[in-house]
Amino acid sequence: MIYVHTANSSELLLKESEILRYAGYGTHVPDETELGRIQKIADEVLLSVAPRACCRILPVAVTPGMVDFGVFRAASGQLSKNLAGCKRVLLFSATVGAQVDRIIEKYSRVSPASAVIAQAVGTAAVESWCDLFVSSIGTSLQKEPAYLRPRFSPGYGDFALSHQREICQLLDTSRKIGVSLTDSLLMTPTKSVTAVAGISETDERCAQTGCEACNKQKECLYARG
């Protein structure tokens, strides 16, 4: 069964510091006037978002270096480490919709500075939506009890981007949430995410999450810290 979840934009919690980081400010905080400009664009983008996500829960067989989802297999050392000990996974895709892309495109035609801000807000929005969605699934799973590991996306570390194709097909993303892949594996709308999260029977914290779990940390423009 593929489940579909939606939310209102008002449910998304966007951190200003995240928007600034995605926009290329690093840890620098701009002055009031600039923050005002950023806020105005953030409001416009947020008004346009339509958060949707779809997911299914699949049995999984994890051996070192290989994850077998039944329907497809992924050779990835980092993913297998992330999912070690899990018998099931949550497979999901989430998006904040197409209108954000139109706003970004509009600004890239009239004001590149605003385009950079708009795309930063879009990224912060879809990240926040993923967090919200995953935590609501996590809460539901606690009834079993079962626990969710941090999410892991194709393209992170050695988990090949090409697995997006299989994930999108399994989740019927085009029909359920309007997300499709281009021939070169880009997701459209662009502010979309596909990911897996391990479900474990024991409540163990995964050692590494986020940027720290990725071997691209050094070359990544948006790595934390």
Binding site: Y3, H5, A98, R102, V110, S184, L186, P189
Partner: protein, 799 residues
């Protein structure tokens, strides 16, 4: 009785969900249902049979995903599309034969391609038409009774499917979209917009399916019945399955589903079925609930509407403002932009008019020296990537009109037809095929009548001729032609009288208002007063300049005075907005003119930079302003960026401010006075649709005086090479965001080295590194936009 006659007069029961039933019949996860059906026809027939026995009049063949993308044929390891469709239709026909009884209908089921169309995605519109056409041709040859286009969540893809169906068969075409909780498609269109477009394309029935249960679709269904003049059908899900830890099933049981469907019948729905999660049990319940129920008779809603990819604009209520600025007649800058294919200038012109309050934008690309057909369609597509106003397509060339009407996402205005037979013969077939609200000029073979009666008579003849094409009065808006009073002082009166005459016929009217003052001084004074008079005479739309304050003043004041603005709300908010910002005098007094401009650029204040540039020109010539203010300011910011004390958005705001100052100076400089010799071509490579990075590079290079040709995104290698050759470019900048598009970058560089060995290549983008750049043979790797500028400066020095 064919299905069309039936759904117009009677209730029609469709079938329910297919996927769930096939899964319980053994369809493995991840396998395509159409492919599975090839080896399990008995299972498919059994599902159809169960729906027929439950009471379905129409069953959809197992062809939802049957297209050439998914079934390219044996060479690609899949069955042929032909056999897939033939097998699926045969299964449905066999089931009908087995069950017998009342007349049943087999639909060729057409679902989305699974790809998003350009500009949001990478599927070309004509390619989408071709994909759907293949399936339609096979299905029609198999003898299906109707085409059912369903689960479409994008308006443009829906249009591609309908055009493919209409062009390749004569069967009834029923079209159903998937709406979300906001009552919109996933790419933004609301019910009104979809109905406008689909009725324009002559869909035979419109509907909603999938996405939500009947409870949550009530508003959408109600709105469909309120605005559609064609029959409406509804095929909801059995609710929305959301994971809550338990084994969840769809949350609307058959009985509740059926009760809701009976309510839909009372609203005026004629077709009833189900989608995901619904089973024969649901259909049986629906039949039971509708037993003996009569459908409401269809009513002609008589709405004059146009639409964009998000919303509709209705005529005949509040007067509609059509922005006239994207028309080269008398506009020097726009002519240059059209010749140079400067799409940014044209889009800005559109966005400015939107900000000024236009409801519709006129688009005209009529310049003798350019390919109007190509350009008009390109402007339509580009505008529709960034601006959600409906467009008025304005051309005298039928082939340009058709290309633009095809590409248009929604139902546009068509500008124009006139009373000449030749004109009507050319325009009406296009309008009948693609839909549109047609502007009809009251002139014919004998010219423009100088009486109101003469013009009204031409309007009546146009209505009559249009009706032969099935185009009704509601889709024609008559322009009785404003002629200048400087030639004949009676002419304004004649035009106003003609407006009243056409209104008396029950028609709509539009005017190009400003013609009335041609040849007079202080034209704005005359235009605004004439505009008010025309509005009072019943004018429904005006082609005008929304940036002309007097016209907007007159418009908002008229609407308030004519009781077309409840609580004067729009007037009050317009009045509040038009209070202009005062210039920052204190700052200006404290700083010298040079410092003022420099500081405006460094602080990234666009408007102020333009003002300061004006002020600087009072005492300096343009070149000195550039050399003593703009260049030093840009250097300060650029160095700050390199030393990481200035950040990307700040660098860009300064760049935009410098550009605003340049725009002021340009008008006082000889063309090319400040331009560098180095010519640069930039593009985002094929397969990549992200272009913020490339746009940043462009604005910075332009700031530093380089001439930049921007080819946009997703550009094939051959096109880049051609541009480099045409422009004799010494530098080519390429951008790629993803590992998957780097091969396209490599291919481009290889081709460039082969054909233009003198041209240097610079590459950048999130995924690139020095190692990567070396590996694909790039001459230079720029880690950010400033590095590209520095590299270009180095090449410039060497020239």
């Amino acid at each position: 009785m064919n299905i069309l006659e039936k759904i117009i007069t009677d209730k029609v029961i469709f079938d329910g969900g297919m996927g769930t039933l096939l899964q319980s019949a053994g369809l493995p996860a991840g396998e395509l249902p159409e492919q599975w059906g090839m080896t399990h026809p008995d299972k498919i027939i059994a599902v159809h049979e169960s729906y027929l026995r439950a009471g379905s009049d129409v069953i959809a063949a197992n062809t939802f995903g049957a297209n050439i993308l998914k079934f390219p044929g044996k060479a690609h390891g899949t069955p042929d599309l032909l056999t897939v469709v033939q097998n699926a239709v045969m299964c449905a026909q066999v089931a009908v034969g087995k069950v017998g009884g009342k007349k049943r209908y087999v639909a060729l089921d057409i679902g989305p391609t699974g790809k998003l169309l350009k500009p949001l995605g990478d599927l070309d519109f004509e390619e989408a038409v071709r994909i759907f056409a293949e399936t339609v041709k096979i299905g029609a040859a198999c003898g299906v009774d109707l085409i059912l286009i369903e689960t479409m969540n994008d308006s443009l893809e829906t249009k591609a499917a309908v055009i493919a169906a209409k062009e390749n068969c004569d069967l009834p075409v029923l079209v159903s979209n998937t709406y979300d909780e906001r009552g919109k498609l996933m790419t933004g269109a609301d019910v009104d917009a979809m109905v406008a477009m689909l009725e324009g394309l002559r869909a035979d029935a419109v509907g909603v399916n999938c996405g939500l249960g009947p409870d949550k679709l009530e508003k959408v269904v109600k709105r469909l019945t309120e605005v559609a003049s064609v029959p409406v059908f509804a095929m909801p899900n059995a609710g929305l399955p959301a994971f809550d830890g338990e084994k969840t099933v769809y949350d609307v049981p058959p009985y509740d589903f059926a009760i809701k469907m009976a309510e839909f019948a009372q609203m005026g729905v004629h077709g009833f079925g189900g989608c995901c999660g619904t089973t024969p049990e649901y259909i049986e319940a629906v039949c039971f609930a509708l037993q003996g129920a009569k459908v409401l008779p269809l009513t002609e809603k008589n709405r004059s509407v146009i639409s964009s990819y998000t919303h509709s604009v209705e005529f005949g209520k509040t007067p509609v403002l059509i922005g006239e600025r994207i028309n080269p007649t008398g506009k020097k800058m726009l002519k240059v932009a059209l010749r140079e294919n400067n799409m940014d200038y044209i889009l800005n012109e559109g966005l400015d008019q939107e900000a000024a309050g236009a409801h519709v934008l006129d688009v005209n690309a009529g310049l003798p020296e350019i390919d109007e057909t190509k350009m008009l369609a390109q402007i339509v597509t580009s505008l529709q990537a960034v601006c959600d106003l409906p467009l008025q397509i304005d051309t005298t060339k039928p082939e340009a009109m058709e290309a633009a009407l095809r590409a248009y996402n929604g139902k546009p205005m068509i500008n124009s037809v006139c009373g000449k037979q030749e004109s009507m013969d050319a325009v009406f077939p296009l309008a009948a095929k693609y839909g549109g609200l047609i502007v009809a000029l009251t002139l014919d073979e004998n010219g423009i009548p100088d009486t109101a009666e003469g013009r009204v008579a031409i309007a009546a003849r146009i209505y009559e001729e249009a009706s032969r094409y099935g185009i009704s009065k509601k889709d024609i808006i008559v322009d009785p032609l404003a002629m200048t009073i400087s030639a004949d002082t009676r002419s304004a009166k004649v035009t106003l009288e003609a407006i009243r005459g056409i209104k008396a016929l029950g028609g709509l009217t539009s005017l190009g208002v400003s013609n009335v003052s041609f040849g007079l001084p202080e034209r704005n004074m005359v235009n605004t007063t004439f505009f008010s008079m025309a509005l009072e005479s019943g004018l429904d739309a005006a082609i005008m300049n929304p940036k002309a304050k007097g016209m907007m003043d007159a418009y908002f004041a008229y609407c308030a005075l004519a009781d077309k603005d409840p609580m004067c709300e729009r007037f009050i908010s317009y009045a509040a907005e038009s209070e202009t910002e005062t210039a920052p005098k204190t700052e200006r007094q404290e700083l010298s003119k040079e410092e003022w401009l420099k500081s405006a650029i460094i602080k990234g204040l666009k408007d102020r930079a333009a003002q300061a540039a004006e002020a600087a020109l009072e005492t300096m010539d343009a070149l000195s302003v550039i050399n003593s203010c703009i260049v030093p300011a840009l250097d300060t910011v650029g160095m700050g960026f390199e030393q990481k004390t200035t950040f990307l958005p700040q660098l860009l705001m300064s760049a935009e401010s410098a550009k605003a100052a340049f725009d002021v100076l340009k008008q006082r400089m000889e063309k090319g006075a400040n331009e560098k010799k180095l010519s640069v071509v930039i593009a985002t490579v094929k397969g990549d649709i992200h272009d913020i990075g490339k746009n940043i590079v462009k604005v910075l290079l332009e700031n530093y005086g380089f001439s930049v040709t921007d080819l946009g995104k997703d550009v094939p290698p051959e096109e880049i090479v051609r541009a480099v050759q045409d422009k004799n470019a010494q530098l080519c900048g390429l951008s790629a965001l993803m590992t998957t598009t780097v091969p396209a970058m490599e291919e481009t560089i290889r081709l460039l080295k082969e054909t233009c060995p003198e041209t240097k290549t610079v590459v950048g983008g999130a995924v690139l590194t020095q190692t990567y750049a070396d590996a694909i043979g790039a001459d230079f790797y720029a880690k950010d936009a400033m590095e590209t500028v520095r590299y270009a400066e180095k090449l410039e020095e060497a020239l």
